[in-house]
């Protein structure tokens, strides 16, 4: 097991190196000049050139890359070109809202989606099944921002149950956090619930056809035990996998949701940085999100052993 973990962690390195090279090249080949952004509307070309030089953007590409990687290795993510703040500080400020809302969304989604999926599989080809499936296909079919707007309109403006926007740190006020997090979480959860419920249903259907389920029934075991103890645990691996890969979907949802609900998270930080060509921030953010993605999926791979004793690393 330990050997496997080490091997998997080592395998992350080439992936991250490729991500790093890719992102770096992508950005440097992008038209866009942070100097022009810093200088504003009425700067002259000569002024731009001077700013560019002071930012180190006039250096040849490979030297810029080496400098950047050198800093990275020392744990230094650089300094934002635009706001002159250390990138680590920016991330430190912005990552918590995203992590909190992301985690809450995942928990919420799993709690909603798994029972829904089990229900649909159990009542295969009945109206219950069709209702769940329709819901989950719908979840995929409406753009996130439209869902967000609808929630705001309904819960915040018309019913006035919840605030329209914003973020409160749970350390400040748990209630404030929850009241502001509910709508973004629900919005994000629609896709995620759809994804997980659908996968739960599919893999449960598969498992329900297995011999050991028939064995359990032949033993006279109650139906809910058959479903949850026998079937669901065997269906867990693909469900976990989809939670892991669906994480990518969550990130894209986060970018939109943070705009709609005005949450100061890393999704918006990244989009703003891309639009402003704030190279150090974009590089750091894409590396970070990729690393999170890879790491989450590593954790999920490792968690397979919890559900399936046959899997040994």
């Amino acid at each position: 097991m330990l050997g496997y973990v080490i091997r998997r962690i080592l395998a992350i390195i080439p992936v991250m190196v490729i991500v790093a090279i890719f992102v770096f090249l992508l950005l440097r080949l992008t038209p866009g000049d942070p100097a022009a952004i810093i200088a504003g509307d009425s700067a002259t070309p000569a002024q731009l050139e001077r700013i560019r030089e002071s930012l180190g953007l006039a250096e040849p590409l490979h030297i810029q890359f080496v400098t950047w990687v050198g800093q990275l290795v020392q744990g230094n993510l650089g300094t934002s070109i635009i706001s002159n703040q250390p990138v680590t500080r920016l991330i430190g400020q912005r990552i918590w809202p995203t992590l909190q809302i992301g985690t809450l969304t995942i928990i919420l989604s799993v709690l909603i989606a798994v029972p829904l999926g089990v229900l649909a599989a159990w009542r295969h080809r009945t109206w219950v099944d069709y209702a769940v499936m329709t819901f989950s296909v719908l979840g995929f079919s409406i753009p996130v921002f439209v869902i967000g707007y609808l929630f705001i309109k309904f819960f915040a403006i018309d019913l006035r149950w919840l605030p329209v926007q914003g973020y409160t740190s749970p350390s400040e006020s748990v209630q404030g956090f929850l009241s502001r997090a509910v709508l973004p979480c629900l919005t994000l959860a629609t896709i995620y619930v759809a994804l997980i419920a659908r996968m739960t249903r599919a893999s449960l259907l598969e498992v329900l056809g297995e011999d050991y389920v028939r064995t359990a029934r032949a033993k006279g075991v109650k139906e809910h035990i058959v479903l949850f103890r026998h079937a669901l645990r065997n269906a867990a691996v693909p469900i976990l996998t989809i939670i892991g890969t669906g994480f990518a979907l969550l990130i894209s949802g986060v970018v939109v949701t943070e705009s709609v609900f005005n949450i100061p998270g890393i999704g918006r930080l990244t989009v703003d940085a891309i639009l402003a060509r704030d190279y150090p921030v974009i590089q750091a953010m894409i590396l970070l999100t990729s690393a999170i993605y890879v790491f989450v999926n590593l954790l999920i791979d490792l968690s397979y052993t919890l559900f399936d004793p046959r899997i040994r690393y």
């Binding site: 050997g3 091997r7 080809r125 006279g220 075991v221 026998h230 065997n234």
Partner: protein
């Protein structure tokens, strides 16, 4: 004692099936079972036999109330357990009854146990569902039944997962699970088909022993006549959802009444080797020498694990002759076949096809030699590309060796006739044929290359006995006509006895015995061979001739 000739007429009836009909649901309902009657008395073992798809499993599932919902339903009849009609019970009453009064063992011990639960817990679940025993008592009962089924090291196995047990042990767990509440009736649907002969023998003995001590009635489903001869009191023969015939076992095997039964019995190959063919003086077309295959799984950080699947294997085959390789599962038979075919790379050794050693040739050097040696696989469903017409499959090889499409198709038409299929079937797809027909097509495809050697890896194991007999006959005829040498791999001694000139016995990747079929089967020298032969169920009976197997003095003790 040849059969369990016991009398049950005075025993009370445990289960009675009266006029049971089952059909598929929906508008275009297809009948599956047609008003069948079965009676099982206390302590009796009833065997249900019949070809694949005749409705044996459906019968058992109907009794358990486990017919797949939305696919099959009972349309008429009664199933009476101690006089109570099970079809009148609702879902929870039925659930109560399962494992308490009727229980069931399924065919596949690999998949019938929940892979993510410890086996002890799985047995205990039966007690959880039907009793209210204290925890300690439950565990005691579980350990007790596990001991009754002769599981070794009970405490360890109690907390093992299914994948940590062998097939035989898993099937014992299933039996323990089925019998822990001492049900009236035990249904066993092909419980030993997936096991190798020695394990099968042990499991059959165990069921008989427990039946004796618990007085359970057993409904035993099988298509293996040998097993029937071994354990049955009464036999029911099924065909297309009908009970064709039923009788006490000896009566049925000696004087079958119905044609269908006769044919079924005649198709069972005999353990007596066929008459030896004259010795051939030709040069061998295939000679294998010192063949060794080591599978190794090696990782960057993992220690390499090695499986010696074949070691120092050596044999030669002459034109027109058949060499059989037998041995239990995992003994390395397929490994040898795949090395010979060069589907995998042997670790060491020589494989001479004609005069050329192909053991170490590269992919492109190998290509010209491929046409000399062809293979037929076990699974007729998967060995033909489902997306290709039969014609396309048949001409694939010839096209690769430069034949024109037209010639190849003409030849394919002849081949279809040769294997007994209509020539116009070339345009059809594999799924439009039955299993036996598909295996014929696979054989035709191999023959289309006019090979010198044909490797048949378990080529008939997946087929029904009657179909199996036809395919064996076909191979024999082809060999006559074309003079092909056949390397025939099987775990079934009966089949080996019927087709082979020589037999090689493998164990743990090594050849332990190599002689003529006659000698190996009637005078086995190696202990392992003897054990194999002894474990073959019904080995005293010559089914095809409805009498005892008389000639061999092989009975040891």
């Amino acid at each position: 004692m040849l059969f369990r000739n016991r009398q049950f007429d005075d025993k009370p009836v445990a289960l009675e099936i009266l006029g049971l009909s089952v059909a598929t649901t929906g508008d275009d309902s297809v009948p599956i079972l047609n008003t069948i009657d079965v009676t099982i008395r206390q302590g009796e073992t009833v065997c249900l036999v019949g070809e694949s798809g005749s409705g044996k499993s459906v019968t058992s599932l109907a009794i358990m109330g486990l017919l797949p919902k939305g696919a099959l339903e009972v349309t008429a009849g009664r199933i009476e357990l101690d006089g109570q009609n099970l079809l009148d019970l609702d879902a929870s009453q039925m659930r109560e009854l399962r494992a308490q009064r009727i229980s069931m063992i399924f065919q596949e011990p690999m998949t019938a146990l929940n892979p993510v639960m410890k086996v002890g817990a799985q047995i205990e679940e039966v007690l959880d569902s039907h009793t209210k025993l204290p925890t300690r008592e439950k565990k005691r009962r579980v350990i007790d039944i596990m001991e009754q089924v002769h599981l070794p090291d009970v405490e360890r196995i109690y907390s093992s997962y299914p994948h940590q047990l062998s097939g035989g042990q898993r099937q014992r767990i299933m039996i323990a699970m089925a019998l822990i509440l001492e049900p009236k009736l035990l249904i066993a649907d092909e419980p030993t088909t997936a096991l190798d002969v020695t394990t099968q023998n042990q499991v059959l003995k165990l069921i008989a022993e427990l039946q004796e001590s618990h007085g359970t009635a057993v409904l035993f489903i099988t298509h293996d006549m040998g097993v029937v001869a071994e354990i049955a009191d009464t036999v029911y023969v099924m065909r297309n959802g009908d009970i064709v015939e039923s009788a006490a076992v000896e009566t049925l095997l000696r004087v079958p009444q119905k044609d269908y039964t006769r044919r079924l019995l005649e198709a069972v190959p005999s353990l007596a080797p066929r008459d030896a063919r004259p010795e051939s003086w030709a040069d061998p077309v295939l000679s294998v020498d010192g063949l060794t295959k080591i599978y190794s799984t090696r990782g960057l950080f993992k220690k390499g694990r090695e499986t010696r699947a074949a070691q120092e294997v050596k044999f030669r085959i002459k034109p027109g002759r058949t060499l059989g390789i037998v041995g239990e599962s995992g003994s390395g038979k397929s490994t040898v076949a795949r090395c010979v075919m060069r589907l995998i790379d042997p670790t060491e050794g020589r494989i001479k096809v004609g005069q050329t050693d192909i053991a170490m040739l590269g992919r492109s050097e190998l290509q010209p030699h491929r046409k000399h040696i062809q293979i037929v696989f076990q699974d007729p469903f998967r060995s033909l590309n489902p997306r290709w017409t039969v014609g396309d499959s048949l001409i694939e090889g010839p096209l690769n060796f430069g034949q024109s499409r037209k010639n190849a198709l003409d030849h394919a038409r002849e081949l279809m006739e040769l294997v007994g299929l209509p020539a116009d079937a070339l345009g059809r797809y594999p799924h439009q044929f039955s299993g036996g027909q598909r295996q014929r097509i696979a054989i035709a495809r191999a023959i289309a290359m006019r090979p010198d050697i044909l490797v048949a890896d378990e080529a008939v194991s997946a087929l029904d006995v009657s179909v199996q007999a036809q395919v064996l006959k076909l191979l024999d005829e082809l060999q006559e006509k074309l003079g092909i040498a056949i390397l025939f791999i099987t775990h079934d001694l009966r089949v080996a006895a019927q087709i082979c000139d020589e037999v090689v016995v493998m164990q743990h990747g090594r050849i332990v015995e190599h002689d003529t079929a006659e000698n190996v089967l009637s005078q086995p020298r190696h202990e392992y061979t003897r054990a194999l032969i002894e474990a073959a169920p019904g080995r005293h009976w010559d089914f095809a001739n409805f009498r005892e197997l008389s000639l061999r003095p092989t009975e040891t003790a």
